[in-house]
């Protein structure tokens, strides 16, 4: 291991890694020529695009420029009622009557069109939500298609998925999704639901409705029977109307723990099925026997992926004291190479913060962290003048009692703490109200398995981070939620558990 004491002092060797110095990368913006965006988008109900009953709309903007992209219909209770009625009718008269193999064909068709229109969807996602094109192109869209492919395969094999237990759909699913992975979350929700034979009413987030509405176009073009998938846009009130609607059989929500708690209270006694995927404050544990450079890469992916707008982000770095100086110094160097800026530039690593409100929230935490006594570090990367930006940030010397350690920030802000022993590291990792995810870095296989088995979280990665696959269940312990999405568990969540064979 590097002896860090030799490299300290005023003449310590320093790497020139910044982005404004010497040979740099010219802008490499993705062309938007072939992307058609309308000025106005309606609700997608019963296979048709319609205005809201009361004609209300809201604006969706590009967070990198603060410019309006489109007007979108704002669904009220009346519209949600219409959407649920359409979903009920489609369930009763069409979708539940269809041969499972035919249902599968439709789902496959959605997957294929998602792939065909991948570039257009990636650009739309980056325009509307601010995420770097590298991620929307390489992660969001391919994974969304993969979810449809995966669940399409189950559509006619439900009896084999849960042998001897029968497989009956639940009916109408009301689904509310967040703004961090707009199309991917829509896929996580819609694919298992309709493959299992349910019909859905989906409410996308108000800051990122466009890819869900493009998905509606795709669903229409793919000839999915009207009413099987309905998409109603709006903010919290629209979401509440979906969740509370008496004719909804199942609620699936991904979002904040605060809203999740509210939903769980609302649903008490209603007889509705539900899955909640909520917040997180995951620990990324780096042990002294880790492959340091690869661990640093994992730390970066863990917290700076998608601007840190990731519920399973590795937002707490716990590093063993014996290697803390080396890891932190290498982490700072690596962070200097991160490029913040235009989400459509293929070289951008960190795009725009999704909204003004979210930037305010992150900035509030930056003040809180400093006031609590943690030591902030930000890179020197230039950021554009307009739009919502946050440089990659560390809070060094953070403590378990600090709010920046305990609370979810949902931004590119990493709280850094040290531990001495394996047991202490595990105890710190578990000392949180959340339990969604976690990471362990050690070159010793046995240690990695032992530690991951002792962390109470739904998803654990060893020597990697933020790896997603439709076959793997995803979900949380404690205040991170209830139920699982993805894999067989995710399919099960859309079927009657007690049905007899």
């Amino acid at each position: 291991m590097t002896d860090s004491t030799e490299s300290t002092g005023p003449t310590a060797p320093k790497l020139r890694l910044g982005n404004g110095d010497g040979w740099g990368y010219a802008p490499a913006p993705e062309s938007t020529d072939h992307v058609e965006l309308r000025d106005r988008y309606g609700l997608f109900i019963d296979g048709e695009f319609t205005e809201a009953a009361d004609g209300r709309t809201f604006e969706t903007a590009n967070p990198a420029t603060e410019e309006k992209i489109a007007e979108v219909a704002l669904a009220s209770d009346v519209d949600v009622d219409r959407a649920v009625a359409a979903a009920r009718r489609a369930y009763d008269e069409v979708w539940s009557q269809l041969a499972p193999r035919e249902r599968g064909k439709y789902v496959y068709r959605i997957a294929r069109v998602l792939q065909e229109r991948g570039r257009e969807l990636a650009i739309t996602e980056s325009l509307d939500g601010g995420k770097p094109i590298r991620e929307s192109r390489d992660v969001d869209i391919p994974l969304a298609a993969a979810h449809f492919f995966y669940y399409a395969g189950w559509a006619d094999k439900l009896d084999y998925a849960f042998p001897g237990r029968g497989a009956r759909a639940l009916g109408v699913a009301g689904q509310v999704i967040p703004w961090n992975f707009p199309l991917l979350m829509a896929a996580w929700k819609i694919a298992p639901a309709i493959a299992a034979g349910n019909t859905v009413v989906l409410k996308p987030a108000e800051t990122t409705p466009l890819t869900a509405l493009k998905l509606a176009e795709i669903i229409r073009e793919a000839g999915i029977p009207p009413g099987v998938v309905n998409i109603v846009t709006g903010a919290g009130e629209t979401g509440a109307a979906v969740v509370q609607h008496p004719d909804v059989d199942k609620v699936a929500f991904t979002g904040s723990t605060e809203v999740g708690k509210l939903i769980r209270r609302t649903l008490a006694g209603s007889g509705k099925h539900y899955t909640l995927e909520l917040g997180g404050k995951a620990a990324n544990l780096v042990f002294e026997d880790a492959a340091v450079d690869q661990a640093v890469e994992g730390i970066v992916n863990g917290i700076f992926f998608n601007q840190g707008h990731v519920c399973c982000a590795g937002s707490r770095l716990l590093v063993q004291e014996s290697v803390a100086d080396e890891v932190i110094s290498k982490l700072k160097d690596r962070m200097e190479t991160l490029i913040v800026g235009d989400p459509l530039d293929k070289n951008t690593d960190i795009g725009a913060i999704n909204s003004r409100a979210q930037l305010d929230r992150i900035e509030e935490y930056l003040e809180i962290g400093e006031a609590e006594g943690a030591e902030p570090f930000q890179t020197s990367c230039p950021v554009p003048e307009r739009g919502y930006w946050c440089r990659p940030t560390l809070f060094l010397q953070a403590s378990q009692s600090h709010r920046v350690v305990q609370e979810e920030i949902f931004g590119p802000v990493l709280a850094v703490q040290t531990f001495r022993t394996v047991d202490e590291g595990i105890a710190m990792a578990n000392n949180t109200p959340y339990g969604l995810s976690g990471g362990v870095w050690s070159d010793k296989g046995a240690k990695a398995f032992r530690v991951t088995s002792r962390i109470r979280a739904g998803v654990l990665w060893a020597n990697t981070y933020n790896k997603f696959d439709p076959t793997a269940p995803f979900g949380g312990y404690k205040e991170s939620g209830i139920g699982r999405e993805g894999g067989l568990a995710g399919l099960h969540a859309y079927l009657q558990p007690e049905a007899a064979a």
Binding site: M1, P13, L15, W23, A26, D289, A291, Q294
Partner: protein
């Protein structure tokens, strides 16, 4: 045989993580001015190489002429860093390149296998330097290294370094024979601690040669050595880098691992025989918008 086996302290390497990092670095998009700059930089970093049993004085003179004038239609291009030949042809190259600022590099130490007594290797090095070699590219005894005899490898490098005198020493690890990235890292650390001025991936005679994961691990070793000692060791990937696109990916990797200081022919070299013409073709394309035939560029 020495069995003392010096313990070489090197960090573990996670091969999967290295491949992922490489994939991410390869996703950088280098266009327009940045590309043109990179292409010029690449030319200035090339060690134009011929290492064939059939090499003759005529072949070497032809290669030197190419080094002196890469493309007559583009007179303002930078010159390559060095011409790399076998020891017997160093004198020919030296005369052909006199006054040009282009170095003569010579492989030595029973290149490429290195299976000769140490005395003969050292004699070969001295002869190459006497004949005018500015740089010596040695091979390590991979057999001894893989057998765990690190002390032998360290001593071998140190004695070759001594025999080099003022000539720069590049140490070829022949990573294609080392088997794991852990071994690549250990050999890199060993070479740097034993006197290497440059570490070099391959002889070009073994495949795989300069793969991106191998180069990344070596760059990280150089970075850690620099941060610990303040000493800047150079890097030379060799073998298999034949396109401008490959070369630019290397420059991206250097920029984001070692920083700007290493984007310099004094610290980064490409060992290549056909790379220069692809780079020239790309430069012409950047300027004119048209790809020219390979026959428009001299051998």
């Amino acid at each position: 045989m020495s069995t003392t086996g010096t313990r070489v302290e090197s960090p573990p390497i996670d091969a999967v993580g290295v491949e992922e990092r490489v994939a991410r670095l390869c996703s950088r998009s280098i266009k327009k001015d940045a590309k043109l700059q990179a292409l010029h930089l690449t030319l200035s970093m090339i060690d134009l190489t011929t290492l064939e049993g059939a090499d003759s004085e005529g072949k070497v003179r032809q290669l030197c002429a190419k080094a002196l004038q890469l493309h007559a239609a583009l007179p303002e291009l930078p010159h390559v860093a060095a011409v790399c030949v076998y020891p017997a042809l160093v004198g020919v190259a030296k005369r052909a390149l006199e006054g040009s600022g282009i170095n003569v590099a010579s492989v030595a130490t029973s290149f490429p296998a290195g299976q000769a007594p140490i005395e003969i290797k050292l004699l070969e090095v001295r002869k190459a330097v006497e004949a005018g070699a500015d740089e010596v590219d040695m091979v390590i005894s991979r057999g001894r290294f893989l057998a765990g005899d690190f002390a032998y490898t360290a001593d071998e490098i140190a004695s070759v370094k001594e025999a080099c005198g003022d000539a720069h020493l590049k140490v070829i690890l022949e990573t294609g024979e080392l088997g794991t990235l852990d071994a690549v890292r250990r050999a890199s650390d060993l070479a740097m601690r034993s006197g290497a001025d440059f570490i070099k991936t391959s002889t070009g005679k073994i495949k795989p040669a300069a793969t991106m994961p191998v180069v990344l691990v070596m760059l990280e070793a150089i970075r850690d050595h620099y941060l610990r000692t303040g000493e800047k060791i150079g890097m030379k990937p060799a073998g298999g880098i034949s396109t401008a696109k490959d070369a630019i990916r290397h420059l991206v990797m250097v920029r984001e691992t070692l920083g700007q200081d290493w984007l310099d022919p004094d610290l980064y070299r490409f060992g290549a025989s056909s790379l220069a013409n692809d780079v020239l073709r790309q430069i012409v394309k950047q300027r004119s918008g048209i790809y020219q035939s390979f026959d428009d560029f001299s051998l």
